[in-house]
Amino acid sequence: MIDTNALIGPYPFRYVPHPDPDVLLRVLDREELEAAWVGHLPSAFHRDPTEGNAELYTAIATHAKRLLPVPTIRPDWPHWERGLEAADAAGAPAVRAYPAHWQLAPDDPRMKELAIACGEAGTALILTVRFEDVRQRHPLDVAGDLQPSAVRALARAGNGVRLIVTAAGKDFIEEVHWGLTPPEQKRVFWDFSWVWGPPEDHLAKLFTTVGSGRFVYGTHWPLRLAQNPAANLELLPQALSRAKLADPRRLFTG
């Protein structure tokens, strides 16, 4: 199993204990995870993510077999294409973008350009619905959640697009999924770090309706407990105990 939603680095609005690559490796061992796709948390809040990406590459370079870089690409920043080329050269399986934090509208054409360029490079684009529960946000954290309409717009941008949407809840996932054509639905994958388990059984309902093959494993570490997605899978009804997730290494071939 691969954790597609891990980050390193501090969070600007609260203390997060030990958001370091060495600790992440120990967490992977404890949770019996093969590898992690690792982003750089501070880069989401930087104007220019270039330096943060460099920091990310350096920080995980000695753990290249298990920690794969997921740099941040900001498509409203000049020469963002160079960042995507660098990601490709570094073997990044995906890049991250935060349109809500950058105040890019849901149908911003620059985000579509990025999604299409990622698809052509065989790189997934990771979107984050939220870092924290809206009820606990710092007064200065005013970005707001990513909107479902933004995901629908990107899923419709082209055949080659592959999105991984992290930290979405059931309503968000359903709104996007059923607002897309079947070919468009196949361009979108979800982590379930923010999907509820029993007694409401949101994850079980989504596995039944949307299909477990649309989901990848993601922990949202270091912000959330890495134990949570495993607990969610463990508490699925018996009939879904063998539900298979998507393999994030095969997003473009499956």
Partner: protein, 280 residues
């Protein structure tokens, strides 16, 4: 005999909730509870959960009906399900009568939602009765109230601390540290009020939440719970072992011994733990 596990913050639904799937939701709680090893669900019903009166402002009639449904569930499941009687302090006399009625039938505590601010004097007669009957009060809490939010008259740890200081003989449970808001504010607000314990339930699974709770309150002022997201409960149960602060005995306290003490439940080998100093 397996190690007990008491869920100090659970809810069940009933046919008055207006949900066609209420049986399935209850069955899912039992299914997950069995898998997790829960030996006792300490649960409440908040009236009709919004169907005929608001969840956090339930009408007296809805509360009585919900409490009756909760009593019926307890009768059906024996010691696996224990009940908190839910009341609305705006209807004070009726609330006190409802507490007495349900306590006589086995309720082990009182649930206050968010119908009135926690430090309002209107809660005093309820707290006096709670202390007299030896029933703890589980109070719905928003971790750090910075403004009003719709559909509830929210209280935070500071509000609850003011109430608890007026009623030192009553025990209060600060609800769901993972239930939204800034839990660090709650820890600071209740740290020096020893008759408040906190439950760990809620959908929030922030890293650091449990470590800081144990550090601020000590393991004997924490009750494990799930509320309406049992997977986060299971994740926290596992994470507790990694806080680096809990011995096996501390974990037992959080898993069940504190709840057994607070709710006065008859469970095997319950010891009365010696209070430990929390981190200053």
């Amino acid at each position: 005999m397996k190690e007990p596990l008491i869920d100090a913050h659970a809810h069940f639904l009933w046919d008055g909730c207006g949900r066609a799937d209420w049986r399935e939701v209850n069955a899912a709680r039992f299914r997950a509870g069995e898998r997790m090893g829960i030996t006792c669900h300490v649960a409440s019903m908040l009236g009709t959960f919004g169907f005929t009166s608001p969840t956090y402002f339930p009408s007296p009639a809805d509360l009585t009906a919900g409490n009756d449904a909760m009593l019926a569930l307890c009768r059906k499941h024996g010691t696996l399900v224990r009940m908190l009687v839910t009341v609305n302090p705006n209807h004070t006399t009726r609330a006190r009568n409802e507490i007495k009625r349900c306590a006589a039938k086995g309720a082990v505590g009182i649930k206050l939602a968010a119908s009135r601010r926690a430090d309002d004097p209107l809660l005093d007669p309820i707290c006096t009765l709670a202390a007299k009957l030896g029933l703890p009060i589980l109070h719905h809490i928003w971790q750090h109230r910075r403004r009003e939010w719709p559909n509830q008259e929210i209280s935070d740890g500071a509000d609850l601390a003011r109430l608890a200081e007026r009623h030192p003989k009553a025990t209060f449970i600060l609800a769901h540290i993972g239930g939204g808001g800034d839990y660090m504010h709650s820890y600071a607000a209740i740290r020096d009020v020893p008759n408040i314990v906190a439950d760990t339930s809620g959908s929030g699974v922030d890293r650091g939440m449990l470590d800081e709770a144990v550090a601020a309150l000590g393991s004997q002022r924490l009750l494990w719970g799930s509320d309406i997201t049992m997977e986060t409960g299971l994740a926290k149960l596992r994470a507790l072992a990694n806080t680096g602060l809990s011995s096996d005995e501390d974990l037992k306290d959080i898993r069940w011994r504190n709840a057994a003490r607070v709710f006065r439940l008859k469970t095997p080998n319950v010891r009365k733990p010696k209070p430990k100093a929390a981190r200053s």
